[in-house]
Amino acid sequence: MQEQKKELVSRKKRSIVFTIIWLVGFSLVNYPIGAWAGQKIYPFVLGMPFSLFYFWSAYSLLIAIGIIMAWKLWRD
């Protein structure tokens, strides 16, 4: 029983950690970090201007965080 309660408490902790991770990801596409990246054309990365590369990567990361949350945390 003690073990099971621990599992549930850790679930609550995991919810908080995942929410913080998601918010960090979300902040990457917002002011001020996004505003900094949105001003930089150079260097080119993977053939793209930095700004373009940055936003595609940041949004992809945000999607990936969501998928991990659903997998590891959400019910159903």
Binding site: K5, L8, R11, V29, I41, G47, M48, P49, G66, W74
Partner: protein, 506 residues
């Protein structure tokens, strides 16, 4: 053969195909309201995925998005936040709605909310607000279809005939198959849209730069129009609030009805986090086409014509025809969902509770089908006239549908919202939305939908503090049932539950 004839043949084949899908998906036995409006709650993950993304992406994704990138460059990334954040509502709102819908046979928003708050006034308000915002939206999609026909054929099929064709095709398959027809045609349309737009993007890139290596295009854009690759600092307030104005897209009635339709809530969970993959990567080729357009077709009078103009100039006629059929698919996949849900609102929220309480399923279904014909005919007629009021309603449609959010949260999460609070919130929200859209336009740079929501929440909370809470019976029926489900799942997984975690929906 002239390119316009090739395009017309392709679009005709597409129209026949969607009607055939309607025939194939119709109920073989006696149809029920549940089958017709929520697909018998039996839609699997594959079809759910494509019906959601195809409904989300309207003709804006083809024409409007390319035009915005052409004009404002990468400021367009602001829309991406909405594509990632809005679908999360599919889980947080959709999951409890699915369980409640399945248990108590709910099929619309007003159905669920009027039951929780025990108020037919609320049912009527939600229905009327939904219809006010849905019908002009539907009309704008029919207009989009008419423009596509006219553009593709160089005016040989006039605008009015294009809208009429859309009307006939759309009502044919919706009348035949109801939600299943809408969902299956959406699936075909969603697949068509993504494949064709990617092929089109590749072809245009190859023709304009002579290579499929996008760095050549990007280098030219960086040298010739560098301002398209940066986001001006003064744009950030708008950038950061755009997603809030589009937040309503995942709970506006055509999306909401999809919560009821899926076979199990697991589908909703994965839809919430994987649909953004489709929604944002759809725009990769749109970026390529728009950037190419900036280089080779600068100064277009109408920016939203950049995509058809680039395709006509650089893609073979067959591909142009296919992609314009894809644009038509985007229009129809949004319009059919709006039309179908409009019928469900009329039948379930207005006809049955207010006009004919004793109506049989068969009778109600018949009335619902009549509503489809009549409402779409009204939208068709409206599409023949440019009316500033209608354009304005479309501009606030998503913000308007967003005003239902606080009352939904009351029914699903927070017991503190009362019937009077919910009604006041919706009315105040819609009024503030209209004031901040038409009288004092977007104060502090915030979208009118956001202003409406702020005042909605405030008035909802204040009024709820001084009025009677929902009955214990209803609280137990809704909150108690969801808590039970959560506890059951936790018990199955962990063997026990802790009281402080049982009620959370994460």
């Amino acid at each position: 053969m002239a390119p316009w004839i090739i395009s017309l043949i392709i679009i005709s084949i597409y129209c026949i195909a969607v009607i055939l899908i309607g025939i194939a998906s119709r109920d073989k036995g006696v149809s029920t309201l549940e089958n017709y409006y929520v697909g018998g709650r039996s839609i699997g993950p594959f079809v759910s995925y494509f019906t959601y993304v195809a409904t989300f992406h309207s003709s804006f994704a083809f024409l409007g998005a390319a035009g915005q990138i052409y004009t404002n460059g990468i400021n367009f990334f602001a829309v991406f936040t909405s594509c990632v954040v809005s679908p999360l509502m599919i889980y947080f709102i959709g999951r409890p709605v699915w369980y409640l819908g399945k248990k108590y046979n709910f099929m619309t928003q007003a159905d669920l909310l009027s039951s929780y708050y025990e108020s037919n006034v609320l049912r009527m308000i939600i229905s009327v607000v939904s219809l006010i915002f849905l019908v002009p939206y539907l009309q704008s999609q029919i207009m989009g279809g008419g423009i596509i026909f006219e553009t593709v054929t160089g005016g040989r099929v006039p605008y009015w005939a294009g809208t009429l064709i859309i009307y006939i095709v759309m009502i044919s398959y919706i009348l035949l198959g109801g939600f299943k027809a809408v969902a299956w045609t959406d699936t075909m349309q969603g697949l068509m849209m993504i494949f064709l737009v990617w092929i089109g993007g590749g072809v245009v890139l190859g023709k304009v730069t002579g290579t499929l290596d996008w760095s050549v295009l990007m280098n030219r854009v960086a040298q010739e129009v560098p301002e398209k690759l940066i986001i001006p600092v003064e744009y950030w307030p708008t950038y950061m609030t755009t997603f809030m104005s589009l937040f309503g897209i995942s709970i506006y009635p055509p999306s909401f009805i999809r919560f009821y339709s899926v076979k199990n809530p697991k589908t909703l969970k994965w839809l919430a986090v994987t649909s953004p993959i489709y929604l944002i990567f759809f725009y990769v080729p749109i970026f390529l086409i728009a950037f190419s357009g900036i280089l080779v077709m600068p100064g277009l009078e109408r920016a939203d014509m950049v995509l058809p103009a680039m395709l006509s100039s650089y893609a073979p006629p067959v591909l142009t025809g296919l992609i314009m059929a894809g644009a038509l698919a985007a229009t129809m996949s949004t319009a059919d969902s709006q039309l179908h849900v409009t019928s469900s609102i009329f039948t379930i929220d207005i006809y049955k509770p207010f006009i004919n309480k004793d109506a049989t399923e068969e009778r109600a279904l018949f009335v619902g089908k009549i509503a489809i014909v009549v409402v779409s005919a009204i939208a068709l007629l409206m599409s023949q006239f440019t009316n500033a009021l209608l354009v304005a309603i479309v501009a606030v449609a998503l913000g308007g549908c967003l005003q239902i959010l606080p009352s939904l949260l009351g029914a699903l999460y927070w017991k503190g919202i009362t019937k009077e609070g919910a009604i006041t919130g919706i009315i105040v929200g819609v009024v503030v939305l209209c004031i901040t859209q038409f009288v004092i336009a977007s104060p502090l740079g915030l979208h009118s939908g956001v202003w409406g929501l702020i005042f909605n929440v405030l008035s909802c909370i204040i009024v709820s503090r001084f009025t009677e809470a929902p009955s214990n019976e209803k609280v137990e029926m809704f909150h108690g049932y969801i808590r039970e489900i959560n506890e059951e799942q936790d018990r199955a997984k962990y063997g026990s539950v802790l009281p402080q975690t049982a009620g959370t929906n994460l």
